[in-house]
Subunit: 141 residues, 2 copies
């Protein structure tokens, strides 16, 4: 069980690394890649199936500038060969010389496929900045 | 597998019935009721653990008027003794003589406990009205 938790948290980190790197090849290797997968980008309606989900990542990677994603309050649970990781994403991006940040709450469901945990569902929704957090609009040093 | 899908969809329906009925006793029987449970009401930060989650339902049931919830695009998946149901909630409520509606996308994760599917996580987030849907502001006949 302990090993599975370490693995699923690592799979979750790899997912955010792929976003941070705008790396579609990396992203593609992290999903179940069939008609069952689901993805909700913050504020979007749910996308159903790998074709729609993969196209959304391609569009995001092509159209957004560099993103930084910092994870907070990461928690995971394993139930047999599935597991879920919940976390808050602090998403920062630069417009001209200013860094803007927004927060999303994510639920990520993974399924164990052989030795690999693959994403079956990603649901992210906008949330207010956590209490005590710095301003969501920081001037780049 | 087919039986499990029927059961988990039924558990999901019972969850929305409890909301519709503002019935806390019914709601209480549907959750895992330990520190691991998570709940995101639309636009809220995630609540962790049964104490916070149960308190939120009590507050909602005490403070909101009658709600009607209609489910759309319900899909479910089973993986061993866990399963998840995703659906769009059309939430309608009456202010004076007008019915107002809003939409949320939900991810609901259930765990099989003996013969019963219990909610481990509920994540609802606001989404725009589906295309072709009637106005989100209907005058009551």
């Amino acid at each position: 069980m302990e090993d599975k938790i370490i693995e699923v948290v690592k799979a979750n980190e790899n997912f955010y690394l792929a976003i941070k790197n705008s790396d579609f090849d990396q992203m593609e290797g992290l999903w179940v890649r069939d008609e069952s997968v689901k993805c909700v980008h913050p504020g979007w309606p749910m996308l159903h199936g790998w074709e729609a989900v993969s196209q959304s990542w391609k569009n995001i990677f092509e159209n957004s500038g560099p993103l930084d994603i910092e994870l907070r309050d990461v928690e995971s649970q394993i139930s047999g060969n599935s597991g879920w990781v919940i976390c808050i994403e602090k998403i920062s991006y630069k417009i001209e010389d200013e860094i803007h940040s927004g927060y999303a709450q994510s639920t990520n469901i993974f399924k164990l496929d052989g030795a690999k945990w693959l994403l079956a569902l990603h649901h992210a929704s906008p949330v207010p900045a956590p209490r005590g957090d710095v301003s969501s609009n920081e001037v780049l040093q």
